[in-house]
């Protein structure tokens, strides 16, 4: 007999970052029941790490800005494989979502005439990022958290791990998980599920992401039959910390360059003038990341394997006001005073453009009742994401996913959940702590090897040989993963969490590697030394779909834009 609690709701929201919280507000306002779950504590989701700002063409600083220019920047910098309809929705709706957040109580930095201040960011034609110093994400999540707490009608189950989604007759009907605090298993019964679990940055060794970003939601949606797209598109942020080793990968906000920071190699050369004479330090992230990578490869890097980022000329008062987080971060972790000294930086894994394939208007997946939003979803960013577009994404599409899921739940009949399937999953999770029957592999050995492999073989510049070798390693690791085991109970057991995250990470990493092998060209964040050119025949999206225990890959063409939108975007150029 397996013991568990039962939780019934209309909509289950997985993830308490900005997207999940914003979605929940819509569900509550429609008088439906909503339960939110997250692995971490309320208010600790990866959104708190967002620094530079939220992109919205409110045109407070540059009056020429408009949704049309924001749309065009997003499509062009996504190298023309993004979903144009999502880009259009984002560009049109982001300003209202920013003002709405202000009405909820968020306080943005101001222009001299009292409007919301905007800063320059890579790939944005105009100064477009509304911000709160370098802690924009914190202000956003706190404002939404407050709002959700005060609605009183959302049930918040933080520190709860979901391990499997349950589907009945092609529609989702529930999920299985457990509470880290109580160790009790929970079976959720619901009509709709929103996956707002963020990305998978921690499948890499060097990443700017919170440690809970292990791709769980994407993996579980895939296992439930949802299609994934663009999984090969991994954004390396150009500037992560490199020293000391314990903080390697920690984000250095693009805001530093937005506020005037310049990049130098060890020869003292401002090398971006060579790589990108026009946009220089503020070119798109893939361009700047590759430039830094090449400088380091060519022996122009520091002893810790970085280049220099210098903002000292702006003066101490300015830096401490506009970049307080960076000042503190370098002072505390590296003993560097960025008002007087240069920072050492190198690219770090930051964001996954790929994820669950969704309908642009509704955030629906191909599985009935299953919705996805934010970094867990895909389409908006194409082959490269613009800074600030992810914070806009979680508000714009968080709201839309909430509305769609609520509408779906209100009009659909709850499918009958098969409790035997739920109980089988609970037994499976329990068997990780059954020390008798399995092997004795520590899940973190496998996780570490996966991370090393991803960082060394599926990096900024890829090639077929390394990618195939990474795939082989993953195949071996999957086999070894069958013998993982941990001791102890369910409550706050880091080892058990490791077992669960390991499975999800291996699955999403395999999707990344297989998609990267499949795309035989270089486009946006995906650069292959064996296929260095961008190719017209690859203006496609790669789709991963589950076929039993296998991953099927296929391609779909990028839909043609309607004439009025096409006219806004500069035409794609092939060499």
């Amino acid at each position: 007999m397996v013991a568990y609690d039962r939780v019934e709701t209309d909509v289950l929201v997985m993830g308490m970052g900005g997207a999940g919280l914003r979605a929940a507000l819509e569900i509550v306002s429609r008088n439906l029941k909503v339960v939110l779950v997250s692995k971490s504590l309320l208010g600790k989701a990866h959104t708190v790490m967002a620094e530079g700002g939220i992109a919205a063409a409110v045109a407070n600083v540059d009056s020429k800005d408009s949704w049309q220019v924001h749309f065009s920047d997003t499509v062009a910098e996504g190298v023309y494989i993004g979903d144009y309809r999502m880009a259009e929705i984002l560009a049109k709706e982001a300003p209202e979502r920013v003002y709405e957040l202000e009405r909820y109580g968020a306080l943005f930095d101001r222009t001299p005439d009292g409007k919301i201040m905007q800063r320059a960011f890579g790939g944005h034609t105009y100064r477009r990022l509304c911000h709160v110093g370098d802690k924009t994400g914190l202000e956003m999540i706190r404002t939404l958290e407050d709002r959700v707490l005060h609605t009183g009608n959302a049930k918040l189950l933080d520190e709860t791990v979901i391990t499997k989604l349950l589907a009945c007759n092609g529609s989702v009907c529930g999920a299985v998980g457990f509470s880290l605090r109580t160790g009790k298993f929970i079976v959720f019964e619901c009509k709709a599920i929103i996956v707002a679990t963020g990305g998978l940055g921690r499948i890499y060794k060097v990443s700017s992401n919170s440690h809970e970003t292990t791709g769980d939601g994407i993996a579980m949606a895939f296992e439930a039959g949802a299609e994934l797209r663009d999984m090969e598109m991994v954004q390396f942020h150009p500037t992560g910390m490199v020293y000391p080793p314990g903080v390697r990968g920690l984000l250095v906000t693009e805001g530093v360059r937005g506020e005037g920071g310049l990049l130098f190699n060890t020869k003292g050369e401002r090398f971006m003038l060579r790589y990108s004479p026009e946009k220089k330090e503020l070119d798109a992230r893939d361009v700047v990341a590759r430039a830094i990578y090449h400088e380091i490869q060519n022996g122009n890097g520091t002893e810790h394997g970085g280049v220099y980022l210098d903002i000292t000329k702006k003066g101490a008062a300015f830096i401490r006001k506009k970049l307080p987080g960076m000042y503190e971060q370098f002072k505390e972790f590296a003993g560097v005073d960025i008002t007087k000294e240069k920072m050492e930086v190198a690219p770090t894994v930051h964001y996954f453009m790929g994820g669950i394939r969704v309908e642009p208007e509704t955030a629906r997946t191909n599985v009935n009742g299953l919705f996805a939003v934010g970094e867990a979803a895909a389409g908006l960013h194409g082959a490269n994401r613009l800074g600030g577009n992810s914070l806009a994404d979680i508000l714009v599409f968080g709201r839309r996913a909430g509305i769609s899921a609520a509408t779906y739940a209100a009009t659909s009949v709850a499918p009958k959940l098969d409790y035997r399937e739920a109980e089988a999953e609970i037994s499976r999770i329990n068997s990780f702590i059954d020390e008798a029957g399995r092997g004795s592999t520590n899940p973190y050995e496998i996780i570490d090897e996966l991370r090393d492999t991803m960082s060394s073989k599926v990096g900024i510049i890829r090639n077929g040989k390394d990618l195939n070798s990474a795939l082989q390693t993953i195949t071996v690791l999957k086999e070894r993963a069958k013998s993982v085991t941990v001791k102890g109970g369910v409550r706050f057991n880091q080892g058990l969490l490791g077992c669960i995250e390991m499975e999800k990470m291996l699955l999403v990493a395999e999707c990344v590697v297989r998609s990267a092998i499949y795309r035989k060209e270089s486009r946006g964040a995906h650069t292959r030394s064996d296929f260095p050119n961008k190719l017209k025949e690859w203006k496609l999206n790669i789709i991963c779909a589950r076929n039993g225990s296998k991953i099927d890959l296929s391609t779909v063409p990028v839909p043609e834009m309607p004439e009025e939108l096409n006219a806004l975007v500069k035409p794609e150029v092939y060499a």
Binding site: L41, G43, L107, L149, L156, F492, G495
Partner: protein, 263 residues
């Protein structure tokens, strides 16, 4: 100067350091004790690195709460050699001798280093929400200087270390909501377009009067928010102003008594 730093760090690398980590599972009633672990120290290592090493490689049953490992999320609050600090922001090479790591003592223990901080969210629910002036034309205009005052408090990462260090919260925790929540109230009260005054609520329901301004909270704040100087004292002053205003005082006497507060 920089080279010297590096040399010193290098000298401390590769050594083993002794960590004493608190272990207790309140559900088994066996009480708690400190368990010793030797951990290899690397350059620039923080206390959280040692703790996650233990929980991932030595003993997975060691309960610990952490997430960003970048001093941004405020999850890994603990008492390190008795001082409330973030584990991810405490460099091992800044501490001599054995490093003792225990849970925050102001909160009920869940297991080992993890405490139940959910009371903070219950208090947050009771805090009067942001209430902007009505009828102001959108988009709103606010002065950067005015915004800045409130923004100091919005740096709070809800690590609850200030709650932990506060002797009033620790010893009489039913009486005072604690520094974090005064900071929250101040962040709303000092919003340029907010119309409420939460100081009375803080005094009547929040027990602000119990705070005797020892400034311990602002000493431990990892975001360096001047909790006492800029939030608690101004809120106390505002509350005193309204308490000693004869008309408001009379009104208060005939309206509600002290409301029950959920702890």
């Amino acid at each position: 100067m920089k080279a010297e730093n590096k040399k010193e760090e290098g000298a401390k690398t590769g050594r083993t350091r002794k960590f004493k980590v608190y272990r207790e599972d309140p559900t088994d009633g066996k009480g708690g004790e400190y368990q010793e672990f030797d951990v290899q120290v690397e350059e620039g290592m923080v206390v959280l690195d040692a703790i996650t090493y233990i929980s991932q490689r030595v003993d997975p049953t060691l309960a610990v709460r952490w997430n960003c490992k970048a001093a941004r999320c405020g999850s890994c609050s603990a008492e390190i050699n008795g001082v409330p600090r973030l584990m991810c922001k405490t460099r091992v090479d800044t501490i001599d001798g054995t490093i003792t790591v225990g849970p925050m003592r102001a909160f009920p223990l869940v297991k080992d280093l993890v405490t139940d901080v959910s009371s903070n969210y219950e208090i947050e629910k009771l805090m009067p929400e942001f209430k902007p002036k009505e009828g102001i034309s959108s988009p709103w205009r606010m002065n950067e200087m005015d915004v800045g005052r409130s923004q100091e408090f919005r740096k709070c990462i809800e690590c609850f270390l200030c709650q932990d260090v506060c002797h009033v919260v620790r010893d009489h925790h039913a009486a005072y909501i604690g520094p974090r929540h005064v900071v929250k109230a101040a962040s709303l009260d000092m919003h340029p377009l907010d119309t409420l005054d939460r100081s009375e609520w803080l005094t009547a329901d929040g027990g602000l009067g119990y705070c005797n301004v020892t400034k311990c909270c602002q000493d431990v704040c990892p975001e360096h928010i001047k909790i006492t100087d800029n939030a608690i004292i101004p809120e106390k002053e505002r509350s005193a102003d309204s308490l000693y205003d004869p008309i408001i005082s009379l009104f208060r006497r005939f309206s509600k008594g002290k409301a029950d507060r959920k702890q």
